[in-house]
């Protein structure tokens, strides 16, 4: 790269950083105060873009029309955020940790279908910004005026936010609540309105981030999910709750990306390496490196311990006799199922069983072990690819079925070593980073993993080929896996795991090596997720990188949370309900995503402890 090329790519990076920063700052504020992992933040960004497009088209492409449209779109997004907080999230602050995540996931589904319904399927490319619609010559190249404007907007917004947070009473309250929200509440701060205000401000920033970007990026239905992982990375790399950190991280990641593109292909030592392809995953590599070196991000601080009813978990009790009887009866029904139902029911039940095992293994680490994993798909995918590749290159299907889980366990052994050194959201994001790195390798390694197409022709051995035979195999493996995982929680190892979650200090004092116990838990969860992945691969006959992708991890979380994170049976119920709902609704309604989202919202509001939590309370007469 010539020096002028370097200068221009640097400016490109700065321009991209600005809108990324706006969105990330909003997310960071919201998380800092409310501790909500807000998946719907990207949806507000998308709504900002769509609304700005419509408003600018309506007002006309004049400077006033454009900037007026952008501002109104941002304000509207803020208003929508406030309404969502008041109507929905406010009811969930007392719920177990992470449940709000389920609610925001449902919102993503609803808002996506809403946008499709209002704006239609076609991408909407906005006009150039009036007054900033040409390029200026910099270093002998044409550089868009609008990008220069964006470069300026980032620091201005940073300055305004800094003033707001340090020089106003409201800002002081926000900082107090970020530090210790219980204490802020105890001192008489009206938390409800503070939370609403923060949520509205965060949503406003997301909306403006989307709106201001319309000259550079069309409004599309995919932009919500496409930005959300980027901003999570920015927020975590910067340090959760730190606005300057978010700015620094946005700059760092955008500039690195621009240089990867600028460098392009490199030929060295007889190897061709494409930095351009590295943009697929570079932000996650940055995040993994930052978190390994600085466990609380660049400018973050160790997060304060959250207190509240949602965080205290009852100790595990032995399952009562009626529950055991119910479980046995369910199992008997499942065994008899091939006699009672058609072939498709077996296929659907097979999927449910696979996902039940997957979500139980996820629950194993996020519930009793207390390590929130946002990247559990990595082990599901390693299991699936491990099994498929073993079948293609090495061994018969029966053996490959067990080679998959081993591959997953090896992956968990490696990634877990790093992850157990972190906690809370940072741990969650590091698991996500490893999952994305795994995904990108699977996606890129054409000659070995089949690249984006994946691997086809991975069918079970002939004697397992019939639907009934494979159903019984799935039933046997999933049941055995689930029972083993549950049994382990009542073994000394399980007690040690829970002790490490509830009180690491005391657990350490009585001689438990907390990190090693957690590491072992991580590997076990990975092993069984891998088993689920291997069974899944052979049931479909083909796999592609989507088994390692973020949506698979998110689906796992949704199943666990839907069923109820505080019970062991919850994940099984959640997997059954979610998979069955998805299958049924997608078949019967056009706007199936919105319908699914609405049903989840209703379930969340009605049963904040999950489906099984509700049942437990009703039948075991637990106090509310």
């Amino acid at each position: 790269m010539s020096s002028s090329a370097i200068a221009i790519q640097f400016l490109n990076g700065l321009a991209s950083a600005s809108s990324l920063f706006l969105v990330a700052a909003g997310l960071s504020l919201i998380f800092g105060v409310t501790r909500i992992v807000n998946f719907a933040h990207g949806s507000l960004y998308m709504l900002g873009a769509y609304m700005a497009y419509s408003l600018v088209e309506y007002f006309g492409r004049t400077p006033l029309g454009f900037w007026g449209g952008v501002m109104i779109a941002g304000l509207a997004a803020g208003l929508i955020g406030a309404v969502l907080e008041i109507v929905l999230l406010r009811r969930l602050y007392q719920a177990p940790e992470l449940l709000q995540l389920l609610a925001t996931f449902a919102l993503v589904l609803v808002i996506k279908d809403f946008a499709l319904w209002v704006w239609g399927p076609e991408d909407l490319l906005g006009p150039r910004a009036p007054g900033f619609d040409q390029a200026v010559a910099i270093a002998g190249r044409a550089f868009p005026e609008f990008d220069l404007l964006l470069i300026a907007i980032g620091p201005v917004v940073l300055g305004l936010l800094w003033l707001l947070l340090t020089r106003t009473r409201w800002g002081t309250l926000v900082r107090a609540a970020t530090e210790d929200r219980e204490m802020a509440g105890a001192l008489g701060v009206n938390q409800a309105w503070l939370f609403t205000g923060v949520f509205a401000l965060g949503s406003l920033l997301a909306g403006i981030g989307g709106a201001i970007n319309i000259p550079r990026e069309p409004a599309t239905l995919g932009m919500d999910l496409s930005i959300i992982s980027d901003v999570f990375v920015v927020v975590v790399v910067g340090g959760m709750g730190s606005i300057p950190g978010a700015f620094l991280a946005a700059l760092l990641i955008s500039v690195i990306k621009a240089f990867c593109i600028g460098i392009g292909e490199v030929h060295a030592f007889g190897i061709d390496f494409s930095f351009s392809k590295l943009t697929l995953v570079v932000e996650f590599i940055v995040m993994a490196i930052v978190l390994v070196i600085r466990p609380w991000g660049l400018l973050g601080r160790p997060s304060a311990v959250a207190r509240g009813p949602g965080t205290v978990e009852d100790p595990l009790r032995a399952p009562p006799r009626p529950l055991l009887a119910f479980g046995a009866a369910m199992l008997a029904i499942l065994v008899l199922m091939p006699l009672l139902s058609d072939a498709y029911t077996l296929v659907l039940l097979g999927d449910i069983l696979v996902f039940a095992l997957f979500s139980v293994s996820l629950h194993f680490i996020i519930g009793p072990a207390g390590m929130h994993s946002f990247g559990h798909a990595a082990y599901f995918g390693l299991g699936a690819y491990g099994a498929a590749l073993a079948l293609k290159h090495l061994m018969p299907m029966e053996a490959a079925l067990f080679a998959g889980p081993l591959a997953a366990a090896l992956g968990a052994l490696l990634f877990g070593w790093f992850c157990v050194r972190l906690s809370g959201v940072y741990l969650a994001m590091l698991t996500l980073a490893f999952a994305q790195i795994t995904w990108s390798i699977v996606f890129q390694w054409d000659t070995f993993t089949g690249g984006s197409n994946g691997l086809v022709d991975v069918w079970p051995a002939a004697w397992l080929g019939s639907k009934t035979a494979y159903y019984y195999l799935t039933l046997a493996l999933a049941t055995a896996g689930i029972l083993l995982l549950w049994r382990m929680l009542y073994a000394p190892f399980g007690y040690a795991l829970r002790a490490g979650r509830d009180s690491p200090l005391r657990a350490d004092a009585i001689g438990i090596d907390v990190r090693r116990t957690q590491w072992a838990g991580f590997v076990l969860a990975g092993l069984f997720a891998g088993l689920a992945g291997a069974v899944y691969a052979f049931s479909k006959g083909s796999i592609s990188p989507e088994v390692v992708a973020i949506p698979r991890s998110v689906d796992g979380l949704v199943m666990v949370l839907l069923g109820g994170i505080q019970t062991l049976t919850g994940p099984v119920a959640g997997a059954a309900v979610f998979t069955w709902l998805q299958d049924t609704i997608a078949r019967n309604t056009d706007f199936w995503r919105a319908t699914l989202g609405m049903i989840i919202l209703v379930l969340v509001l009605a049963f904040p402890r999950g489906v099984t939590g509700m049942l437990r309370r009703r039948f075991m007469r637990e106090p509310a």
């Binding site: 010539s2 090329a5 221009i8 790519q9 490109n12 990076g13 321009a15 991209s16 499709l116 399927p121 076609e122 991408d123 909407l124 490319l125 150039r128 040409q134 390029a135 190249r141 044409a142 868009p144 550079r216 990026e217 069309p218 599309t220 995919g222 496409s226 990306k257 621009a258 593109i261 600028g262 392009g264 292909e265 392809k277 943009t279 697929l280 006699l339 058609d342 072939a343 498709y344 296929v347 659907l348 054409d446 690249g451 984006s452 197409n453 086809v456 022709d457 899944y536 479909k540 006959g541 083909s542 592609s544 990188p545 989507e546 088994v547 299958d583 997608a586 078949r587 199936w592 995503r593």
Partner: protein, 395 residues
């Protein structure tokens, strides 16, 4: 005993019902929610064809029923949906799919379950070549074919230095591979000076446009589409990338991807596409009028694909006089039929239709993009030799 009796009775009734209504049931699945811009017109296309088929008496003396499903956009979900269509709905054949990985997964399932699958949209060459199988047929001209259609014009320009930009997944990768191979053969000494592979839907267009300009190419070959294409065009226009550099872009003339460009449409790009309002052959005129009458909207390329896929089903069953898998496959191999954009042949050698595409240049007309100087490129002229294909297909 009671239970067994009931099952037997149920089976008998089901069998009797099945033979009484020998109705043709077509299973259709697609990623309607993942790629709505292309697939809503596609759905309207096959629905129009279905109406016409049923209005003219249906097939085998019965009305045809299409059972259409959302496939969730992933191979795993699509396979489950296809299993449902086969096991519960007992469809005679399946059609549809969009993305390459979903198409390949369903194609592989079709071979496993021995059922006919007509792949509508997937562009991947593998579905008829490396991974081709007896049960899978594909409607749309493939990545190879559409790339090959642009080669003659590219060679004519005698440009030395080519830069390439493509979305980093199967479609973009194979387009790039074929372009390099075919160009190197047709124009020895051609140079490829820069390659950008942004992730699908996540192009950093300013940086990419700059990096391509820095490579100082004489021409650019792109396989971008959708939002990536729009961002690339906007930044390239602003930064003057296209002023002295001619661009070849697969698919950019398809209304799905051209129309959103509006006044930003770049002048003079060589593209494949579908100039729907200028094709005035009797077959296309009839199709366009019927489509506009039914849907109050103009057809996109997806409409052509959907319509032709449904027509293929009808022609196959008429020719086979049966909806039985083996008979349909035999009928389809080598079958000739008409589509709104000209006659096609279903090649027995690789189960690819010879559907063509329109090759032309982009121009701005008012605040809209259009294709000008276009001509029809018949599919059969842009395919590799039979020997080559037989080497790829493992049958």
């Amino acid at each position: 005993m009671k239970l067994t009796q009931r099952i037997v009775a149920g089976a008998v009734i089901a069998l009797a019902a099945g033979s009484a209504h020998a109705q043709v049931k077509v299973g259709e699945l697609n990623s309607y929610k993942t790629f709505p811009a292309f697939l809503e017109p596609y759905k309207k296309g096959w629905q129009l064809a279905l109406d016409e088929i049923n209005a003219s008496g249906g097939l085998l003396g019965q009305k045809v029923e299409v059972i259409s499903r959302e496939d969730g956009g992933t191979p795993g979900d699509a396979v489950r949906v296809a299993e449902e269509l086969l096991a519960r709905e007992k469809v005679n054949l399946i059609m549809g799919t969009f993305a390459s990985n979903v198409g390949l997964a369903v194609s592989n399932l079709a071979a496993q379950r021995k059922v006919l699958f007509i792949a509508a949209e997937p562009l991947t060459d593998k579905i008829v070549w490396e991974n081709g199988n007896r049960y899978t047929f594909r409607v749309r001209p493939s990545t190879y074919m559409q790339t090959a259609m642009l080669i003659p014009d590219a060679v004519k320009l005698k440009k030395q230095r080519w830069a390439i930009v493509y979305p980093n997944y199967e479609y973009g990768q194979s387009a790039t591979r074929w372009f390099k191979e075919l160009m190197a053969k047709a124009q020895p000494g051609v140079q490829f000076v820069g390659e950008q592979a942004p992730a699908l839907g996540k192009i950093d267009a300013g940086a990419v446009a700059q990096a391509l300009a820095d490579a100082k190419p004489d021409a650019i070959f792109s396989s971008l589409f959708g939002a990536d294409l729009q961002k690339f065009v906007r930044e390239g226009n602003l930064r003057g990338l296209f002023k002295n550099t001619v661009v070849f872009n697969l698919l950019a003339g398809e209304p799905e991807y051209l129309d959103p460009l509006k006044e930003e449409t770049p002048d003079g790009w060589y593209v494949t596409g579908y100039p729907w309002n200028e094709i005035n052959t009797p077959a296309h005129k009839k199709f366009r009028e019927a489509y506009q009458k039914k849907w109050k909207d103009y057809p996109r390329l997806g409409s052509i694909v959907g319509y032709s896929t449904m027509q293929t089903v009808a022609n196959t069953i008429r020719k086979a006089k049966s909806a039985e898998t083996e008979k349909m496959i035999e009928a389809l191999r080598g079958m000739e039929m008409d589509t709104p954009i000209g006659p096609i042949v279903w090649r027995a050698v690789d189960h690819q239709s010879t559907m063509g595409a329109y090759v032309g240049r982009l121009a701005r007309k008012g605040d809209k993009g259009v294709m000008v100087d276009w001509k029809f490129a018949p599919g059969d002229q842009y395919l590799p030799s039979f020997e080559q294909i037989k080497g790829w297909r493992k049958e």
